[in-house]
Symmetry: C2
Subunit: 405 residues, 2 copies
């Protein structure tokens, strides 16, 4: 079997863990598999490098920031390759560029243009384990570009697709995807499998397990992803295209996120083009808007509410005065201490009763719902951030997720 | 004027010094010069990275060690380019590979095969300051290779030669080359200029000012090098091909080194091929031999003495038992606490009296000479390491080096 294994920063945080990962990779090769490894920067290295850049200037040039950040993963590949060679296993560290990860020149949030996996395949054919730097690629001119959040997950999936690998393994400090965060819900259960759509919704709604860009790419090429532990040998969670018949119309897992802020613009004149007038300045300021809800119009005036990440609240507020003036609204109200809980499962939207059951469970726990948003396989309620743990526990119990598949 | 400026690790050790260097480079550009900058890794970063590698394995793979060490200079170029851009000066960080420094695949001690300076020149033509990572290059296959000790000096000279620069400026935490180490000799005087040969002898005999590989390369292409301060604006020392007539037959400077160990093989049978039998195993063990002295043969038996770096002494001793057996010598004597002092100046060897004056000065200071070695422009005495400071002071006074040119 040809697999691409990805190890995150926690799994390679120090010399001891790097040697542990090397042993794991070697045993896998001895078992007869072909293994390509993708690694992140060690522990908090990326944050340390960002702090270093900020000590030079509050607004570092994006190209040079990429040049700086790319050293984090370059350190990891060199150390892991050394560790494997010290065990007698031939290995070779490859930067994003050496591994053929080509991107556009959109520094800091690079999109992969193509993968030329010739070098990686040649190293595999020589019996060497290619250790590839995640999170980075290069332009055709050889300039280094980082891929933004979740970049190492994306590198692993893109390489697996280019190599025609049997699957991508995302090796983490958790054993798989759970029905809810086990730190909040002691009875949370590890899931055997999930569909791409379910994983995508969980990732988008706050699950830290995998980044949605990587899940999307895997979904397009139908590449199976195994989310598994880098520490213990235990079956993980397989993310793939098929969903078992009996799993349809079921809530599979609860996602939560406590990083939500809300802005409501009161009494907006309801005319065409008003949404663009509101959201274009926010997009220009780099503020990503999540849920948008517009209440039924009355006297041709409407209340419009949207949610954003809490870190963007101050910047959003400073844009709002101008926006209210431009749309002719008298003012806005902001709230910063919100969170969200979501139930996710293929087909729940089309099946009756799930929404009612969710609202009832939250009501019974004394939790007020501020906003509701839905997708085909998800139901999300925005609530008080402080009540998120209670809400997750109440929903986990209401949907009987502690019961086995 | 087109100049290549090189800044060492001390000059870019922290954010404040990096901003200081940025200001210096910008003022130079504003004054109308075209500037290419070569930088080393920050402060002790290279040593920290070596320690990190050793925490993984006592014998790191050389290719992966190069991959790791190269991150040090990559950090420096990114931070300095950011600092220049923050001042409003366009700049661009370039790795060794991006700057077109091509090497053979001799990891850890790379030799520059060629410099393709097209990208550097293009950036200059666009009004950007190219900030190039010293100490590193890449093979034609794109693998990273470091250039070994003094590598950043070498990068600067090689780039300057390839660009046809007017000169290379080696910007340091000292103001130039002195008649002796000012920490030992308070009356030491900064030299206005030196020939390549004189600088080469000083570098080889322990002066830390510039690496001899870089001086050699500059000499071949007759590229002037200015050794100057990165901290204050003061005239430095120009290293070039011409020597003033009145400077000939003069001692220009004293070099010293306290890192010397000595091994003497007693009663070696004096027959052809004996030197190869002794020195081949040492070379194979990676031990670099400095001075070799063979005493006049007697009864067809000879004493052979050579010096090495102190760090190699233990490994050399472990080779010596076998070597003594192979050459039929009864044994060897080792001494680890030695140093050397050298007087350097064009033509001193051909002029009479210098050697006598040197030996007299050391004798008057009560310093015993263990070994003597000479070149055309240098006289070196191996002495007790503890007496090196006294010897440097005695020689500086004996040759009246405190007196101006």
């Amino acid at each position: 079997m040809l697999v691409v294994q990805k190890y995150g920063g926690t799994s390679v945080a120090d010399a001891e863990r790097i040697r542990h990962v090397a042993g794991r990779v070697m045993r896998r090769v001895h078992a007869g598999d072909q293994v390509v490894v993708v690694v992140s920067a060690m522990g908090n290295r990326t944050d340390e490098l960002i702090d270093l850049a900020l000590s030079i200037t509050p607004d570092p040039d994006p190209r040079e920031l990429d040049m700086l950040l790319a050293t984090g993963e370059q350190m990891s590949i060199a150390l892991l390759a050394m560790a494997l060679r010290a065990l007698g296993q031939e290995a070779v560290g490859l930067t994003g560029q050496q591994a053929g990860i080509y991107t556009r020149a959109d520094h800091g949030s690079g999109r992969i243009a193509r993968v030329q996996a010739g070098r990686v395949r040649a190293e595999l054919d020589c019996g060497r384990v290619p250790i590839v730097a995640g999170f980075q690629g290069a332009t055709d001119e050889g300039d280094i570009v980082t891929l933004g959040r979740g970049g190492s997950d994306l590198t692993a999936v893109a390489l697996a697709v280019a190599l025609g690998a049997d699957r991508c393994e995302n090796c983490k400090d958790v054993e798989g995807v759970y029905t809810a965060d086990p730190r909040l819900v002691p009875t949370a259960r590890k899931l055997t499998d999930l569909t791409y759509e379910e994983m995508l919704e969980l990732a988008t709604q706050g699950s830290q397990v995998m980044h949605n860009r990587a899940v999307e790419l895997a979904s397009v090429y139908e590449l199976p992803i195994l989310v598994t532990s880098s520490l213990v040998d235990a079956p993980g969670t397989l993310i793939h295209g098929e969903s078992e018949l009996e799993e349809r119309n079921r809530v599979r897992a609860i996602a939560h996120d406590t990083d939500v802020a809300k802005i409501t613009i009161r009494r907006v004149p309801d005319r065409p083009g008003i949404a663009a007038t509101i959201f274009e300045p926010l997009a220009a300021a780099g503020i990503s808007v999540d849920t948008i809800v517009q209440n039924a119009s009355e006297d041709n005036l409407t209340d419009l509410t949207f949610t954003i990440s809490r870190k963007d609240l101050r910047r959003a507020e400073s844009e709002m005065t101008g926006i209210c003036r431009d749309v002719g609204a008298p003012g806005f109200v902001a709230a910063g201490e919100l969170g969200k809980v979501s139930i996710v499962g293929v087909g729940i939207q089309t099946a009756p009763g799930y929404a009612a059951r969710m609202f009832r469970a939250l009501f019974n726990a004394g939790i007020n719902i501020e906003l509701i948003s839905t997708s085909e396989i998800r139901l999300t309620c925005i609530i008080d951030a402080a009540r998120v743990p209670d809400a997750v526990r109440a929903l986990h119990e209401a949907f009987e997720l502690e019961r086995g598949d």
